[in-house]
Assembly symmetry: C2
Homo-oligomer: 236 residues x 2
């Protein structure tokens, strides 16, 4: 009877992109000792309107307190859960160059949304070496059944011309979400989600904004903040 348990509400995409930002701010405020925050301050810190903050937060279930705001601890936890933060999706990385090493050795995976379980490369000088506690292997030689939990996320950090082959290989071993750092548009089977982190596209967008006046105040994953006194900087 309760088969469709895993679908509380289906959030609007822009909301999904903003929630991690709210979460990060909530954590920062918590560290500074602010245990509550208003939609007004949160909005100013995140670069969106207070109304948008309230709409976003109410969409994951009302838990603010009228008159005082949201509890930062509660806020952080609720968003964490909503995003499936404690899932620890098994993640693999293909292309162990400078970028991959920077990612592997960074505190990026402290969010525990993803956990690296395998590294791949094709360079014989790299295959067999140990990076961040994991031995680098060959993607083509991989046996999908080797894992208790099959990899769900794949990070692609290879040169553009190799990216499509790698994407195919990842889909073959069962990956269902790809984060690609290559300057290459990827074709994947239906059901696989691809996101791109593309610095050159970011630079082109910034370049456009430099030439044509003001960028907007809110958008995809980014935001533009005005300098103004804010709860975080001047705690009551």
């Amino acid at each position: 009877m309760s088969a469709v348990h895993r679908r509380p509400k289906l959030l609007p995409e822009p909301t999904v992109a903003r929630l991690p930002i709210y979460q990060r701010i909530a954590e920062e405020l918590l560290r500074r000792g602010n245990d509550t925050v208003s939609s007004d301050d949160l909005g100013r810190l995140a670069g969106v309107s207070a109304a948008t903050v309230r709409r976003d937060l109410s969409s994951i279930g009302p838990f603010g307190t009228r008159g005082s705001g949201y509890q930062t601890l509660d806020l952080s936890r609720r968003i964490f859960e909503m995003l499936g933060g404690d899932t620890e999706d098994p993640t693999v990385v293909v292309g162990i160059g400078n970028l991959a090493r920077a990612l592997i050795n960074s505190p990026l995976f402290a969010t525990r949304a993803a956990k690296i379980v395998a590294l791949y490369d094709i360079d014989p000088n790299v295959v067999g070496t140990v990076v961040g506690g994991l031995e680098v292997r060959r993607l083509a030689d991989e046996d999908p059944d080797r894992f208790e939990q099959p990899p769900a996320i794949g990070l692609i950090t290879v040169p553009a011309q190799a990216a499509q082959d790698v994407a195919d290989g990842l889909c073959d071993i069962g990956v269902r979400a790809i984060l690609s750092f290559s300057q290459q548009v990827l074709l994947v089977p239906p059901g696989v989600t691809v996101r791109y982190v593309d610095v050159s596209i970011e630079l082109q967008i910034l370049s456009y904004h430099l030439e044509h006046g003001r960028g907007p105040l809110s958008g995809g994953l980014w935001h533009n903040l005005g300098h103004s006194p804010v709860g975080a900087g001047t705690p009551s």
Copy 2:
């Protein structure tokens, strides 16, 4: 009477984010010898509808040919110009670690939207060394008047706790657009645009999509492609 010269049309933000994708696809098609492409194929490759492609492209001035499509060469060039691609905005990088080295040594700056003119760090072991042909200096010691063209874009690749200070320093030397890789929300003066490249946020978004069914077909900077025969793969 004609004071507002610098504003040809002001494109919708989602369009600005998609144009670089179209451009990249056009370049790839060009390399493969396809000299024209229809809105239908271009849409399939970019992961958006044909109608959206036509709307986007018509907004930068009609230049398609009815009955046959768009010229890939023309397409690439028009988008390049529209994004201010030949501006070569002077760019500085702060925090010369693994990530910065990966960026500096990558072909990312081949788009010529940005050109690196200075590198900064505070580690005495790094200051004074030469990376990618440029000597690493101290941001705090920098004299803004040293440049003929003052830096317009700043890349921040420092640990989160140092990011705000660096952002302040960048604004001081006149930077008007920042691309931050730090997990830290930045406060900047009005008129400065900030974009974030945040892998941990990307991972959280992917994690959400893994748990709650399908991601959308189009959104901020990303797209989801279905596997289907396409003009690029099967040229006529």
